[in-house]
């Protein structure tokens, strides 16, 4: 059949063409499938709603504004047991974000290092890295979390040893830090009056580092002169702030943890549950990231390395300037998945008693209020939005490092 015939018959559109005409058929099938899907959704929703109503539990989110009544030990924002369930959920979300952020950072550092080392020419190093990857990858992350927690609470000194007039154990680093099996206690900076300029100068120096980096890069592009940027950046980071700190009469002091009757008061406490979860998630995810990194590096043609060697570039610079930038294009997409996995795996926090969103909203709140449906829907929405945000950000980054085809 020729195209001319079809166009000629177009004005006289008949309903049967929706099925028999290949131009419309796929559209028809999709529309029907969509309608059926929506109907199924509507049926499921109404079924759930009517069954909940029959149980005498219609959907209601008013429990979020009622007092929670329970305490949370690790909070980033102010919280007490008279605040609402909604506030407790917020504390949980922030705790989830905290461990996800810390985990992604450490997993990336470890993963890239291990991935690169796995390709090392040194037999022992590359074998050790293989063992690392295979051990961590092939054991469920929940077991790693439980193991890390057990190791921390069994092997760190008991907090009881720090108590009393003549404690058996003393604090490390000049009486400032205490590693105990109830958590790690560290000093807290106290900002006295007059500390604002120091903080402002610190942030200005961060801007300075960024500006210097750009300038040095541009200069290198134009003149080919390579500056020792790292040491200069380091100097910008420390020197102005430290100078300001002493000139203004040391307006920032540290509040040291001091042993009270049962535990250290003052300072910050980093609970072992956070440390265990953070380390276990990072070590586990790092194994997957290492594999992605190795795949990325191996995807870069060996000719590139050889060409670099021919130009007299040293192996380390070759890796930094030639191989890794090209490998990143292959590495980033699987890396996004790993970040998402890490974020979602953080919901195992309850196993070690870290109060993330699953522990607060999906745990105690759900249990005390009996609002399973509402809590789970909110919980899913939370993870979904966190994951989508991470995903969007990483996709943007992926776009920005993609090969620019001109």
């Amino acid at each position: 059949m020729s195209m001319a015939d079809q166009t000629a018959s177009k004005p006289s559109f008949r309903l049967s063409m929706l099925i028999y005409d290949t131009r419309y058929r796929s559209m028809t099938i999709q529309v029907i499938a969509l309608i059926l899907f929506m109907l199924a959704v509507a049926w499921l929703l109404s079924n759930a709603a009517s069954n909940l109503a029959a149980l005498g539990k219609p959907l209601s989110f008013s429990f979020l504004s009622q007092p929670a009544g329970y305490d949370i030990n690790q909070t980033l924002i102010e919280y007490n047991n008279q605040m609402s369930h909604g506030r407790a959920a917020l504390v949980g979300i922030l705790n989830t974000l905290l461990v996800a952020f810390l985990g992604c950072v450490l997993a990336t550092i470890l993963g890239v290092t291990i991935g690169v080392l796995r390709l090392s020419n040194n037999w022992i190093v590359s074998r050790l890295m293989t063992i690392y990857i295979e051990t961590f990858r092939n054991v469920p992350v929940l077991l790693w979390i439980l193991l890390t927690m057990a190791v921390l609470i069994e092997s760190l000194p008991k907090i009881a040893l720090f108590r009393g007039e003549n404690p058996i154990n003393t604090m490390s680093f000049g009486n400032s830090v205490a590693f105990t099996n109830a958590g790690t206690f560290i000093p807290k900076p106290i900002f006295l009056s007059g500390s604002t300029p120091v903080v402002v100068i610190f942030f200005l120096s961060l801007v300075g580092i960024w500006a210097f980096g750009r300038w040095a890069h541009k200069r290198q592009d134009e003149t080919g002169v390579v500056l020792p940027t790292f040491s200069i950046k380091l100097a910008i980071f420390f020197l102005p702030s430290i100078a300001a700190f002493y000139i203004l009469g040391q307006p920032i002091t540290l509040e040291y943890p001091v042993m009270a009757r049962f535990r250290f008061e003052g300072g910050f406490v980093i609970r072992n549950s956070l440390i265990a979860l953070w380390l276990a998630l990072s070590f586990y995810t790092a194994a997957f990231i290492a594999e992605a990194v190795r795949a990325g590096i191996q995807a870069v043609s060996h000719g590139q390395t050889e060409a670099a060697a021919a130009l007299g570039i040293r192996p380390r610079r070759t890796m930094q300037l030639i191989v890794l930038p090209q490998a990143l294009r292959v590495i980033i997409p699987p890396m996004i998945s790993q970040y998402l996995n890490l974020t979602k795996n953080s919901s195992l926090a309850i196993a070690v008693g870290y109060m993330d969103i699953t522990g607060t909203l999906g745990g105690i709140t759900l249990n005390q209020t009996g609002r399973e449906m509402e809590s789970l829907v909110i919980l899913m929405a939370c993870y979904l939005s966190i994951s989508i945000t991470v995903s969007l950000f990483m996709n943007w980054y992926n776009e920005s490092i993609k090969m620019k085809e001109r």
């Binding site: 049962f262 008693g353 745990g363 249990n367 005390q368 449906m373 979904l384």
Partner: protein, 338 residues
């Protein structure tokens, strides 16, 4: 993809909720077994023994119900539940009766739509500390680190107690009893708090129970009892009166030893009504006349169950205290069988 998961969950909740509304008695008879929700392992109350058979004080309630309804105290599917999963399991119909040392509270009864059929153990929240901590009263615990099982009334009582006494504490929420023990024994928390009966049971499993002590303060009322879903009154009545039958049997001196003899008929009309040789109480419940006799035969009367599982002769060593019969100065009291 995400959407489908949400829908799947909605569907699962919707469907199971729909199934749960049928008559529970008929369901149980049709299945031929009773689904009983118990704790994940609390020695004396509900824990598998060396042969893998569930045994304990809470388990005995289920055994009695299974014996009364199905005629077989072993026709039970035990579903171990954590403090967090128990209510969902009961509401969704996964279990027919929940006998998991659950505290009877207003909101659970009214808002969560459950029916507490009675109290089989009057408990209260206590504190356990190592003797080495040098604490003799809960009022000295200002600033202590406290292990709690999450998803229980315990954490709310704890928050209330410390707030009303103007003290601070650091909660360490733990999912199960086993992990709480690990944390407590490793010294990661100074105090372990839960119902005093649970503390006694936990302490009994320690290597050196004498190194640990319960503080004298009991900071809450914890009436523990079996519960069923709202809306099936016949089933609620069966479980309620099975429990009452066990209590009444002790009050009237019916034991597993003299059960056969008493079933034949006695001079006491209430015993006769209880054991079915007089009246038609079983028929009123939708069961046969010998239902209560079978329930008592399963593990003995209330007192026998208590002594065998958690009494002073066991490792747990709880005295009857509040849980003595009302005639002995306790709170255990059953309405009359009439």
């Amino acid at each position: 993809m995400k959407k489908t998961i949400v829908l799947g969950t909605l569907a699962a909740v919707g469907l199971t909720a729909g199934m749960a509304s049928a008559g529970t008695l008929d369901d149980v008879k049709a299945k031929g077994e009773l689904a009983c929700g118990v704790s994940t392992g609390l020695v004396g109350f509900a824990a598998p023994d060396a042969n893998g058979e569930w045994a304990g004080f809470d388990v005995s309630v289920c055994r009695a119900v299974a014996a009364a309804v199905l005629g077989d105290p072993t026709a039970i599917k035990f579903v171990p539940l954590t403090g967090k999963t128990r209510f969902t399991a009961l509401a969704s119909g996964e279990v027919d009766v929940l006998a998991r040392n659950t505290t009877w509270t207003f909101s659970r009864d009214v808002d969560l739509k459950f029916t507490f059929v009675g109290v089989n153990y009057y408990d209260g929240q206590g504190f356990m500390v190592p003797k080495a901590l040098g604490v003799s009263s809960a009022t000295e615990l200002d600033g202590a680190t406290i292990c709690i099982q999450t998803g229980t009334t315990t954490e709310l009582n704890l928050a209330d107690y410390f707030r009303s006494n103007g003290m601070s504490y650091e909660p360490v929420p733990i999912e199960t009893n086993a992990e709480s023990q690990q944390n407590y024994l490793a010294g990661a928390c100074d105090v372990y708090t839960t119902d005093a009966s649970g503390l006694a049971a936990t302490r009994a499993t320690f290597e050196n129970p004498d190194d640990h002590m319960l503080l004298p303060e009991i900071v809450s009322k914890e009436p523990l009892g079996p519960l069923v879903r709202h809306g099936d009154d016949q089933w609620g009545d069966i479980v309620r009166w099975t429990l009452n039958a066990l209590i009444t049997a002790e009050e009237l001196g019916v034991t597993s030893a003299n059960l056969a003899e008493k079933s034949a008929g006695t001079d006491n009309p209430e015993i006769n009504r209880l054991l079915g040789s007089e009246g038609n109480l079983g028929e009123m419940l939708g069961l046969d006349a010998a239902w209560a006799a079978r329930a008592i035969a399963a593990g003995g009367n209330y007192g026998e169950i208590f002594e065998a599982n958690i009494g002073e002769s066991t490792a747990i060593g709880l005295s009857r205290g509040l849980n003595a019969q009302w005639t002995q100065g306790g709170l255990i009291y059953s309405p009359p069988f009439r």
